[in-house]
Protein backbone atom coordinates (compact mmCIF):
# COMPACT_ATOMS: atom_id res chain seq x y z
CA UNK A 1 0.00 0.00 0.00
CA UNK A 2 1.43 3.36 -0.98
CA UNK A 3 1.18 6.02 1.69
CA UNK A 4 0.03 9.57 1.24
CA UNK A 5 2.93 11.75 0.16
CA UNK A 6 1.32 14.72 1.85
CA UNK A 7 1.13 12.84 5.13
CA UNK A 8 4.77 11.78 4.88
CA UNK A 9 5.89 15.33 4.15
CA UNK A 10 3.96 16.70 7.11
CA UNK A 11 4.93 13.91 9.48
CA UNK A 12 8.58 14.50 8.59
CA UNK A 13 8.17 18.11 9.65
CA UNK A 14 8.61 19.65 6.21
CA UNK A 15 6.70 22.78 5.26
CA UNK A 16 4.02 21.41 2.93
CA UNK A 17 3.02 23.08 -0.30
CA UNK A 18 -0.20 21.96 -1.99
CA UNK A 19 -1.97 23.13 -5.11
CA UNK A 20 -5.35 23.00 -6.71
CA UNK A 21 -6.74 21.77 -10.01
CA UNK A 22 -10.32 22.34 -11.11
CA UNK A 23 -11.64 19.57 -13.39
CA UNK A 24 -12.94 20.63 -16.82
CA UNK A 25 -16.55 21.31 -17.78
CA UNK A 26 -16.48 18.23 -19.94
CA UNK A 27 -14.54 15.05 -20.52
CA UNK A 28 -11.48 16.90 -21.75
CA UNK A 29 -8.54 14.83 -20.54
CA UNK A 30 -6.01 17.00 -22.32
CA UNK A 31 -7.18 20.01 -20.29
CA UNK A 32 -6.31 18.20 -17.05
CA UNK A 33 -2.97 17.08 -18.43
CA UNK A 34 -2.19 20.63 -19.51
CA UNK A 35 -2.92 22.04 -16.03
CA UNK A 36 -1.13 19.14 -14.33
CA UNK A 37 2.06 19.83 -16.26
CA UNK A 38 2.61 23.04 -14.27
CA UNK A 39 1.98 21.38 -10.93
CA UNK A 40 4.07 18.21 -11.18
CA UNK A 41 7.17 18.52 -9.00
CA UNK A 42 6.10 21.90 -7.65
CA UNK A 43 3.52 20.79 -5.08
CA UNK A 44 3.16 17.85 -2.69
CA UNK A 45 -0.47 17.16 -3.42
CA UNK A 46 -3.21 18.74 -5.52
CA UNK A 47 -6.79 19.39 -4.46
CA UNK A 48 -9.18 18.16 -7.12
CA UNK A 49 -12.34 20.16 -6.63
CA UNK A 50 -15.80 18.59 -6.53
CA UNK A 51 -18.37 20.43 -8.67
CA UNK A 52 -16.86 23.66 -7.43
CA UNK A 53 -19.28 26.57 -7.02
CA UNK A 54 -22.04 24.05 -7.76
CA UNK A 55 -21.20 23.91 -11.47
CA UNK A 56 -21.14 20.49 -13.09
CA UNK A 57 -17.63 19.37 -13.91
CA UNK A 58 -15.85 16.09 -14.39
CA UNK A 59 -16.19 14.15 -11.14
CA UNK A 60 -13.55 14.76 -8.56
CA UNK A 61 -12.49 11.11 -8.38
CA UNK A 62 -12.45 10.81 -12.18
CA UNK A 63 -10.17 13.81 -12.51
CA UNK A 64 -8.12 12.56 -9.55
CA UNK A 65 -7.28 9.37 -11.44
CA UNK A 66 -6.16 11.35 -14.46
CA UNK A 67 -4.09 13.64 -12.24
CA UNK A 68 -2.39 10.53 -10.86
CA UNK A 69 -1.50 9.41 -14.36
CA UNK A 70 0.02 12.82 -14.87
CA UNK A 71 2.25 12.25 -11.84
CA UNK A 72 0.34 14.21 -9.22
CA UNK A 73 -0.92 13.11 -5.84
CA UNK A 74 -4.58 14.09 -5.62
CA UNK A 75 -6.35 15.45 -2.61
CA UNK A 76 -9.81 14.21 -3.46
CA UNK A 77 -12.45 16.77 -2.50
CA UNK A 78 -15.93 15.62 -1.59
CA UNK A 79 -18.91 17.86 -0.86
CA UNK A 80 -22.08 16.95 1.04
CA UNK A 81 -24.33 18.76 -1.42
CA UNK A 82 -24.42 16.14 -4.16
CA UNK A 83 -24.55 12.71 -2.57
CA UNK A 84 -25.97 10.87 0.40
CA UNK A 85 -24.08 8.67 2.84
CA UNK A 86 -24.43 5.57 0.65
CA UNK A 87 -22.95 7.22 -2.42
CA UNK A 88 -20.22 8.87 -0.38
CA UNK A 89 -19.02 5.68 1.22
CA UNK A 90 -19.16 3.87 -2.12
CA UNK A 91 -17.08 6.59 -3.78
CA UNK A 92 -14.57 6.59 -0.92
CA UNK A 93 -14.06 2.85 -1.34
CA UNK A 94 -13.62 3.26 -5.08
CA UNK A 95 -11.24 6.16 -4.67
CA UNK A 96 -9.09 4.27 -2.21
CA UNK A 97 -9.09 1.16 -4.38
CA UNK A 98 -7.72 3.26 -7.23
CA UNK A 99 -4.91 4.66 -5.10
CA UNK A 100 -6.33 7.96 -3.87
CA UNK A 101 -4.89 8.60 -0.42
CA UNK A 102 -6.05 12.07 0.67
CA UNK A 103 -9.54 13.46 1.04
CA UNK A 104 -10.89 16.90 1.79
CA UNK A 105 -14.33 16.84 3.37
CA UNK A 106 -16.53 19.86 2.65
CA UNK A 107 -20.14 20.99 2.94
CA UNK A 108 -20.07 22.51 -0.54
CA UNK A 109 -21.37 25.77 -1.94
CA UNK A 110 -25.13 25.94 -2.06
CA UNK A 111 -26.59 24.66 -5.36
CA UNK A 112 -28.28 28.00 -5.86
CA UNK A 113 -24.91 29.46 -6.95
CA UNK A 114 -24.31 27.02 -9.75
CA UNK A 115 -25.64 26.06 -13.14
CA UNK A 116 -28.42 23.84 -11.77
CA UNK A 117 -30.13 26.00 -9.14
CA UNK A 118 -33.28 23.86 -9.47
CA UNK A 119 -31.51 20.80 -8.09
CA UNK A 120 -32.27 19.20 -4.77
CA UNK A 121 -29.36 19.67 -2.39
CA UNK A 122 -28.66 16.43 -0.58
CA UNK A 123 -26.89 17.44 2.65
CA UNK A 124 -27.75 14.07 4.16
CA UNK A 125 -24.77 14.56 6.44
CA UNK A 126 -22.65 17.67 6.93
CA UNK A 127 -18.89 18.15 6.60
CA UNK A 128 -18.30 17.43 10.28
CA UNK A 129 -20.17 14.14 10.02
CA UNK A 130 -18.39 13.30 6.76
CA UNK A 131 -15.03 13.68 8.48
CA UNK A 132 -16.25 11.40 11.25
CA UNK A 133 -17.50 8.88 8.71
CA UNK A 134 -14.17 8.70 6.83
CA UNK A 135 -12.40 8.28 10.14
CA UNK A 136 -14.74 5.53 11.24
CA UNK A 137 -14.15 3.73 7.93
CA UNK A 138 -10.41 4.03 8.48
CA UNK A 139 -9.94 3.49 12.21
CA UNK A 140 -12.77 1.11 12.97
CA UNK A 141 -13.10 -0.55 9.59
CA UNK A 142 -16.82 0.10 9.75
CA UNK A 143 -19.42 1.82 7.65
CA UNK A 144 -21.44 4.60 9.21
CA UNK A 145 -24.16 2.04 9.85
CA UNK A 146 -21.73 -0.07 11.88
CA UNK A 147 -21.36 -2.80 9.26
CA UNK A 148 -17.90 -4.27 8.67
CA UNK A 149 -15.83 -3.12 5.72
CA UNK A 150 -13.93 -5.76 3.79
CA UNK A 151 -10.55 -4.01 3.42
CA UNK A 152 -11.09 -0.51 4.67
CA UNK A 153 -9.87 2.73 3.11
CA UNK A 154 -7.22 4.52 5.14
CA UNK A 155 -7.55 8.08 3.97
CA UNK A 156 -5.46 10.99 5.20
CA UNK A 157 -8.35 13.22 6.21
CA UNK A 158 -8.58 16.88 5.43
CA UNK A 159 -11.07 19.54 6.40
CA UNK A 160 -11.60 23.16 5.55
CA UNK A 161 -11.61 26.10 7.92
CA UNK A 162 -12.62 29.68 7.36
CA UNK A 163 -11.06 31.84 10.08
CA UNK A 164 -12.67 34.95 8.61
CA UNK A 165 -16.35 34.15 8.64
CA UNK A 166 -18.47 35.30 11.54
CA UNK A 167 -18.81 34.58 14.38
CA UNK A 168 -15.04 34.88 14.71
CA UNK A 169 -14.86 33.62 18.29
CA UNK A 170 -16.62 30.45 17.26
CA UNK A 171 -14.23 29.59 14.44
CA UNK A 172 -11.52 28.10 16.59
CA UNK A 173 -14.09 25.92 18.35
CA UNK A 174 -15.30 24.73 15.00
CA UNK A 175 -11.72 23.80 14.19
CA UNK A 176 -11.61 21.88 17.46
CA UNK A 177 -14.78 20.06 16.47
CA UNK A 178 -13.29 19.07 13.12
CA UNK A 179 -10.20 17.73 14.86
CA UNK A 180 -12.36 15.81 17.29
CA UNK A 181 -14.32 14.43 14.34
CA UNK A 182 -11.10 13.13 12.82
CA UNK A 183 -9.40 15.75 10.66
CA UNK A 184 -5.67 15.14 10.20
CA UNK A 185 -5.04 18.33 8.29
CA UNK A 186 -6.92 21.53 7.62
CA UNK A 187 -6.75 23.84 4.63
CA UNK A 188 -8.01 27.34 5.23
CA UNK A 189 -10.05 29.67 3.09
CA UNK A 190 -7.97 32.12 1.01
CA UNK A 191 -6.23 34.43 3.44
CA UNK A 192 -5.95 38.14 2.79
CA UNK A 193 -6.56 39.46 6.27
CA UNK A 194 -3.29 38.46 7.91
CA UNK A 195 -4.18 40.08 11.21
CA UNK A 196 -7.18 37.90 11.66
CA UNK A 197 -5.25 34.83 10.54
CA UNK A 198 -2.54 35.51 13.12
CA UNK A 199 -5.18 35.80 15.83
CA UNK A 200 -6.90 32.60 14.78
CA UNK A 201 -3.64 30.62 14.69
CA UNK A 202 -2.75 32.07 18.08
CA UNK A 203 -6.07 30.86 19.49
CA UNK A 204 -5.48 27.44 17.95
CA UNK A 205 -1.99 27.34 19.47
CA UNK A 206 -3.34 28.37 22.87
CA UNK A 207 -5.93 25.61 22.77
CA UNK A 208 -3.28 23.06 21.81
CA UNK A 209 -5.04 22.37 18.53
CA UNK A 210 -2.02 22.86 16.30
CA UNK A 211 -0.38 19.90 18.01
CA UNK A 212 -3.24 17.72 16.87
CA UNK A 213 -3.73 18.91 13.30
CA UNK A 214 -1.65 20.24 10.45
CA UNK A 215 -2.83 23.66 9.36
CA UNK A 216 -2.17 24.58 5.75
CA UNK A 217 -2.73 28.28 5.17
CA UNK A 218 -4.75 29.09 2.04
CA UNK A 219 -3.02 31.53 -0.29
CA UNK A 220 -4.49 32.95 -3.48
CA UNK A 221 -2.51 35.38 -5.60
CA UNK A 222 -4.63 38.22 -6.96
CA UNK A 223 -4.41 38.37 -10.74
CA UNK A 224 -5.77 41.87 -11.07
CA UNK A 225 -7.58 44.69 -9.34
CA UNK A 226 -10.83 43.38 -10.80
CA UNK A 227 -10.33 40.02 -9.14
CA UNK A 228 -9.44 41.63 -5.81
CA UNK A 229 -12.61 43.69 -5.88
CA UNK A 230 -14.71 40.73 -6.93
CA UNK A 231 -13.32 38.61 -4.10
CA UNK A 232 -14.00 41.36 -1.63
CA UNK A 233 -17.56 42.07 -2.66
CA UNK A 234 -18.98 38.96 -4.25
CA UNK A 235 -17.51 35.84 -2.68
CA UNK A 236 -19.25 34.76 0.55
CA UNK A 237 -16.95 34.30 3.50
CA UNK A 238 -14.03 36.15 1.90
CA UNK A 239 -12.27 38.90 3.84
CA UNK A 240 -10.18 41.21 1.64
CA UNK A 241 -8.86 44.22 3.56
CA UNK A 242 -8.48 47.55 1.81
CA UNK A 243 -4.70 47.55 2.06
CA UNK A 244 -4.56 44.59 -0.35
CA UNK A 245 -6.82 46.42 -2.79
CA UNK A 246 -4.71 49.57 -2.39
CA UNK A 247 -1.46 47.74 -3.07
CA UNK A 248 -2.78 46.24 -6.30
CA UNK A 249 -4.34 49.55 -7.29
CA UNK A 250 -1.05 51.28 -6.59
CA UNK A 251 0.84 49.62 -9.42
CA UNK A 252 0.58 49.88 -13.18
CA UNK A 253 -2.14 47.68 -14.68
CA UNK A 254 0.44 45.45 -16.37
CA UNK A 255 2.19 44.94 -13.05
CA UNK A 256 -0.91 44.00 -11.03
CA UNK A 257 -0.46 40.24 -11.46
CA UNK A 258 3.14 40.58 -10.42
CA UNK A 259 2.12 42.54 -7.34
CA UNK A 260 -0.46 39.86 -6.53
CA UNK A 261 2.24 37.21 -6.65
CA UNK A 262 4.54 39.38 -4.55
CA UNK A 263 1.86 39.69 -1.83
CA UNK A 264 1.31 35.92 -1.94
CA UNK A 265 5.05 35.28 -1.57
CA UNK A 266 5.28 37.61 1.40
CA UNK A 267 2.40 35.72 3.00
CA UNK A 268 4.06 32.37 2.35
CA UNK A 269 7.28 33.70 3.87
CA UNK A 270 5.41 34.70 7.01
CA UNK A 271 3.61 31.35 7.21
CA UNK A 272 6.91 29.48 7.01
CA UNK A 273 7.85 31.16 10.26
CA UNK A 274 4.45 31.15 11.94
CA UNK A 275 4.16 28.73 14.84
CA UNK A 276 1.22 26.42 14.28
CA UNK A 277 1.22 26.60 10.48
CA UNK A 278 2.48 23.44 8.78
CA UNK A 279 2.30 24.49 5.19
CA UNK A 280 0.57 26.48 2.49
CA UNK A 281 -2.26 25.55 0.20
CA UNK A 282 -1.91 27.55 -2.99
CA UNK A 283 -5.17 28.21 -4.79
CA UNK A 284 -4.04 29.75 -8.05
CA UNK A 285 -7.50 29.77 -9.56
CA UNK A 286 -7.32 29.11 -13.32
CA UNK A 287 -3.71 30.21 -13.05
CA UNK A 288 -1.97 26.86 -12.90
CA UNK A 289 0.64 27.96 -15.44
CA UNK A 290 1.95 30.54 -12.96
CA UNK A 291 2.46 27.98 -10.18
CA UNK A 292 6.08 27.15 -11.14
CA UNK A 293 6.95 30.84 -10.96
CA UNK A 294 5.10 31.34 -7.67
CA UNK A 295 6.73 28.27 -6.12
CA UNK A 296 10.12 29.51 -7.27
CA UNK A 297 9.62 33.03 -5.96
CA UNK A 298 8.16 31.71 -2.68
CA UNK A 299 11.30 29.59 -2.29
CA UNK A 300 9.48 26.35 -1.64
CA UNK A 301 11.44 24.43 -4.31
CA UNK A 302 12.64 21.81 -4.68
CA UNK A 303 9.90 19.84 -2.96
CA UNK A 304 11.31 17.39 -0.42
CA UNK A 305 11.32 13.68 -1.30
CA UNK A 306 10.22 11.48 1.59
Amino acid sequence: MTESNLKKILDAGHFAFTGELGPPRGANVAAIMEKAKFLVGNVDSVNITDNQTAMVRMSSWGASLIAMQAGLEPNYQMVCRDRNRLAMQADILGAWAHGIRNMLCLSGDHQQFGDHPQSKGVFDIDSMQLIGMVRKMRDEGKFLSGGDIDDSPKMFIGAAANPFAEPFDWRVHRLAKKIQAGADFVQTQCIFNMDKMRRWVQQANDMGLTEKVYILAGVTPMKSLGMARYMKLKVPGMDVPDDIIDRIKGVDKKKQADEGIRIACEQIQEFKEMKGVAGVHLMAIEWEHRVPEIAERAKVLPRPKV
Binding site: C80, R81, R85, S107, G108, D109, H110, Q112, F113, G121, F123, D124, I125, D126, S127, M128, Q129, G132, M133, L144, A160, A161, N162, A165, E166, P167, W170, H173, R174, A176, K177, Q180, A181, Q189, P236, G237
Partner: protein, 226 residues
Protein backbone atom coordinates in the same frame (compact mmCIF):
# COMPACT_ATOMS: atom_id res chain seq x y z
CA UNK B 1 -49.77 26.03 10.99
CA UNK B 2 -49.62 24.73 7.44
CA UNK B 3 -49.01 27.48 4.92
CA UNK B 4 -50.17 27.30 1.34
CA UNK B 5 -50.38 29.58 -1.67
CA UNK B 6 -53.20 29.80 -4.18
CA UNK B 7 -52.20 28.20 -7.46
CA UNK B 8 -51.95 30.45 -10.51
CA UNK B 9 -55.39 30.90 -12.04
CA UNK B 10 -54.37 29.58 -15.46
CA UNK B 11 -53.23 26.30 -13.94
CA UNK B 12 -56.52 25.80 -12.10
CA UNK B 13 -58.51 26.72 -15.18
CA UNK B 14 -56.54 24.21 -17.28
CA UNK B 15 -57.16 21.42 -14.78
CA UNK B 16 -60.89 22.11 -15.02
CA UNK B 17 -61.12 22.45 -18.79
CA UNK B 18 -63.35 19.37 -19.18
CA UNK B 19 -65.54 20.01 -16.12
CA UNK B 20 -68.95 21.61 -16.31
CA UNK B 21 -70.12 21.43 -12.70
CA UNK B 22 -67.45 22.14 -10.12
CA UNK B 23 -67.54 22.30 -6.35
CA UNK B 24 -64.84 24.40 -4.74
CA UNK B 25 -64.15 23.29 -1.18
CA UNK B 26 -62.34 25.53 1.25
CA UNK B 27 -60.87 24.66 4.61
CA UNK B 28 -61.53 26.80 7.67
CA UNK B 29 -58.28 26.11 9.50
CA UNK B 30 -54.62 26.71 8.51
CA UNK B 31 -55.17 27.72 4.90
CA UNK B 32 -57.89 30.15 5.97
CA UNK B 33 -55.51 31.84 8.41
CA UNK B 34 -52.85 32.23 5.73
CA UNK B 35 -55.41 33.59 3.30
CA UNK B 36 -55.00 30.87 0.71
CA UNK B 37 -58.00 28.55 0.96
CA UNK B 38 -60.69 29.77 3.34
CA UNK B 39 -64.26 30.66 2.42
CA UNK B 40 -63.23 34.08 1.15
CA UNK B 41 -60.66 32.62 -1.23
CA UNK B 42 -63.21 30.05 -2.41
CA UNK B 43 -65.50 32.92 -3.37
CA UNK B 44 -62.74 34.75 -5.20
CA UNK B 45 -61.68 31.70 -7.18
CA UNK B 46 -65.26 30.89 -8.17
CA UNK B 47 -65.85 34.44 -9.35
CA UNK B 48 -62.69 34.33 -11.47
CA UNK B 49 -63.63 30.96 -12.96
CA UNK B 50 -67.14 32.09 -13.72
CA UNK B 51 -66.02 35.16 -15.67
CA UNK B 52 -63.22 33.37 -17.52
CA UNK B 53 -65.40 30.49 -18.63
CA UNK B 54 -68.19 32.81 -19.68
CA UNK B 55 -65.76 34.76 -21.82
CA UNK B 56 -64.64 31.52 -23.43
CA UNK B 57 -68.21 30.65 -24.23
CA UNK B 58 -68.00 27.59 -22.01
CA UNK B 59 -70.04 28.55 -18.95
CA UNK B 60 -69.41 26.60 -15.79
CA UNK B 61 -71.68 25.84 -12.88
CA UNK B 62 -69.97 26.42 -9.56
CA UNK B 63 -70.72 25.45 -6.01
CA UNK B 64 -68.92 26.57 -2.85
CA UNK B 65 -68.48 24.88 0.51
CA UNK B 66 -66.02 25.45 3.30
CA UNK B 67 -65.60 22.87 6.03
CA UNK B 68 -63.92 23.39 9.36
CA UNK B 69 -61.07 20.96 8.62
CA UNK B 70 -60.64 18.84 5.52
CA UNK B 71 -58.15 16.61 7.31
CA UNK B 72 -60.89 15.37 9.62
CA UNK B 73 -63.59 12.83 8.66
CA UNK B 74 -66.07 14.36 11.06
CA UNK B 75 -66.15 17.62 9.11
CA UNK B 76 -65.82 16.10 5.65
CA UNK B 77 -69.04 14.19 6.23
CA UNK B 78 -70.93 17.44 5.61
CA UNK B 79 -70.15 16.99 1.93
CA UNK B 80 -71.74 13.53 1.65
CA UNK B 81 -74.69 13.76 -0.69
CA UNK B 82 -73.67 17.23 -1.87
CA UNK B 83 -70.55 16.29 -3.75
CA UNK B 84 -72.25 13.77 -6.04
CA UNK B 85 -73.99 16.56 -7.89
CA UNK B 86 -70.67 17.77 -9.33
CA UNK B 87 -68.33 16.35 -11.93
CA UNK B 88 -65.14 17.76 -10.38
CA UNK B 89 -63.93 19.23 -7.10
CA UNK B 90 -61.28 21.84 -6.39
CA UNK B 91 -59.95 21.52 -2.88
CA UNK B 92 -58.33 24.56 -1.41
CA UNK B 93 -57.08 22.76 1.67
CA UNK B 94 -53.47 21.76 2.23
CA UNK B 95 -52.18 18.62 0.57
CA UNK B 96 -53.43 16.54 3.47
CA UNK B 97 -56.98 17.84 3.18
CA UNK B 98 -56.99 17.44 -0.60
CA UNK B 99 -55.95 13.80 -0.29
CA UNK B 100 -58.39 13.07 2.48
CA UNK B 101 -61.21 14.51 0.40
CA UNK B 102 -60.13 12.55 -2.69
CA UNK B 103 -59.97 9.40 -0.60
CA UNK B 104 -63.48 9.85 0.71
CA UNK B 105 -64.97 10.41 -2.76
CA UNK B 106 -62.86 8.23 -5.06
CA UNK B 107 -65.39 8.43 -7.89
CA UNK B 108 -64.88 12.18 -8.39
CA UNK B 109 -61.75 13.91 -9.71
CA UNK B 110 -60.31 16.19 -7.03
CA UNK B 111 -57.91 18.96 -8.08
CA UNK B 112 -55.60 21.02 -5.87
CA UNK B 113 -56.37 24.74 -5.72
CA UNK B 114 -53.29 25.62 -3.71
CA UNK B 115 -49.62 24.74 -3.48
CA UNK B 116 -48.98 23.53 0.04
CA UNK B 117 -45.70 25.11 0.95
CA UNK B 118 -44.56 24.73 4.52
CA UNK B 119 -45.17 24.51 8.25
CA UNK B 120 -44.70 28.00 9.43
CA UNK B 121 -45.58 30.91 11.63
CA UNK B 122 -47.78 33.92 11.19
CA UNK B 123 -45.45 36.93 11.27
CA UNK B 124 -48.22 39.29 10.28
CA UNK B 125 -51.39 39.18 8.22
CA UNK B 126 -50.09 38.08 4.82
CA UNK B 127 -46.53 37.28 5.96
CA UNK B 128 -45.65 33.72 6.87
CA UNK B 129 -42.33 32.06 7.48
CA UNK B 130 -41.28 28.45 7.44
CA UNK B 131 -40.06 27.04 10.75
CA UNK B 132 -40.17 23.23 10.68
CA UNK B 133 -39.62 20.48 8.11
CA UNK B 134 -41.00 17.70 10.26
CA UNK B 135 -37.70 15.82 10.24
CA UNK B 136 -38.96 13.51 12.95
CA UNK B 137 -35.92 13.83 15.19
CA UNK B 138 -36.30 17.27 16.70
CA UNK B 139 -33.03 18.66 17.97
CA UNK B 140 -34.16 22.17 18.88
CA UNK B 141 -32.95 21.37 22.39
CA UNK B 142 -29.35 21.51 21.19
CA UNK B 143 -29.72 24.47 18.88
CA UNK B 144 -31.29 27.00 21.20
CA UNK B 145 -34.77 26.62 19.75
CA UNK B 146 -33.74 27.54 16.19
CA UNK B 147 -34.20 24.86 13.54
CA UNK B 148 -31.20 24.45 11.23
CA UNK B 149 -32.94 21.77 9.16
CA UNK B 150 -35.35 24.47 8.05
CA UNK B 151 -33.52 27.75 8.51
CA UNK B 152 -30.00 26.83 7.36
CA UNK B 153 -29.88 26.60 3.58
CA UNK B 154 -27.75 23.47 3.82
CA UNK B 155 -29.56 21.99 6.79
CA UNK B 156 -26.25 21.72 8.63
CA UNK B 157 -26.21 20.12 12.04
CA UNK B 158 -22.74 21.37 12.88
CA UNK B 159 -22.70 24.87 11.48
CA UNK B 160 -22.05 27.56 10.65
CA UNK B 161 -20.43 26.85 7.29
CA UNK B 162 -17.66 29.03 5.92
CA UNK B 163 -20.05 31.08 3.82
CA UNK B 164 -21.74 33.08 6.54
CA UNK B 165 -21.51 36.71 5.66
CA UNK B 166 -21.85 39.25 8.49
CA UNK B 167 -24.82 37.41 9.90
CA UNK B 168 -26.38 36.61 6.54
CA UNK B 169 -26.53 33.24 4.84
CA UNK B 170 -24.31 32.70 1.83
CA UNK B 171 -27.34 32.26 -0.41
CA UNK B 172 -28.72 35.72 0.12
CA UNK B 173 -27.98 38.95 2.00
CA UNK B 174 -31.57 39.09 3.26
CA UNK B 175 -31.56 35.59 4.70
CA UNK B 176 -30.15 35.51 8.21
CA UNK B 177 -27.63 32.74 8.88
CA UNK B 178 -29.42 30.28 11.15
CA UNK B 179 -26.17 29.18 12.74
CA UNK B 180 -25.11 32.70 13.56
CA UNK B 181 -28.45 33.08 15.35
CA UNK B 182 -27.99 29.74 17.10
CA UNK B 183 -24.52 30.76 18.22
CA UNK B 184 -25.71 34.10 19.54
CA UNK B 185 -28.66 32.71 21.43
CA UNK B 186 -26.67 29.94 23.05
CA UNK B 187 -23.82 32.32 23.88
CA UNK B 188 -26.29 34.58 25.71
CA UNK B 189 -27.69 31.62 27.59
CA UNK B 190 -24.18 30.42 28.44
CA UNK B 191 -24.92 27.15 26.66
CA UNK B 192 -22.31 27.02 23.88
CA UNK B 193 -21.19 23.64 25.20
CA UNK B 194 -24.31 22.29 23.61
CA UNK B 195 -22.93 22.88 20.10
CA UNK B 196 -19.31 22.24 20.95
CA UNK B 197 -20.12 18.55 21.01
CA UNK B 198 -20.44 17.00 17.56
CA UNK B 199 -24.00 16.41 16.49
CA UNK B 200 -24.04 12.90 14.96
CA UNK B 201 -25.63 12.18 11.56
CA UNK B 202 -29.38 12.62 11.62
CA UNK B 203 -31.63 9.62 11.57
CA UNK B 204 -33.85 10.92 8.77
CA UNK B 205 -37.30 9.73 9.71
CA UNK B 206 -39.15 11.59 7.00
CA UNK B 207 -38.23 9.39 4.06
CA UNK B 208 -41.16 6.99 4.27
CA UNK B 209 -44.87 7.62 4.98
CA UNK B 210 -45.18 7.93 8.72
CA UNK B 211 -47.92 6.87 11.07
CA UNK B 212 -48.22 7.61 14.76
CA UNK B 213 -50.32 5.42 16.98
CA UNK B 214 -50.56 6.71 20.53
CA UNK B 215 -50.30 4.04 23.25
CA UNK B 216 -53.76 4.93 24.55
CA UNK B 217 -55.27 4.37 21.12
CA UNK B 218 -53.52 1.05 20.69
CA UNK B 219 -54.85 -0.08 24.06
CA UNK B 220 -58.41 0.94 23.22
CA UNK B 221 -58.17 -0.91 19.93
CA UNK B 222 -56.95 -4.01 21.73
CA UNK B 223 -59.79 -3.87 24.24
CA UNK B 224 -62.37 -3.45 21.50
CA UNK B 225 -60.99 -6.41 19.61
CA UNK B 226 -61.51 -8.69 22.62
Amino acid sequence: MIVAERKPFQEIKDMLKDAKKVLTVGCGTCVAVCLAGGSKEVGVLNAELKIARKLEGKPIELGAATVERQCDREFLAELDGVIDRYDAVVSMACGVGIQFLAERYPQIPVFPGVNTTFMGANQDVGWYEERCRGCGTCFLGITGGICPVTMCAKGLQNGPCGGTNNGSCEINQDQPCAWQAIYERLAKQGRLASIMAICPPTDWRNQIPRTIVQPGYAKRKQLLAK
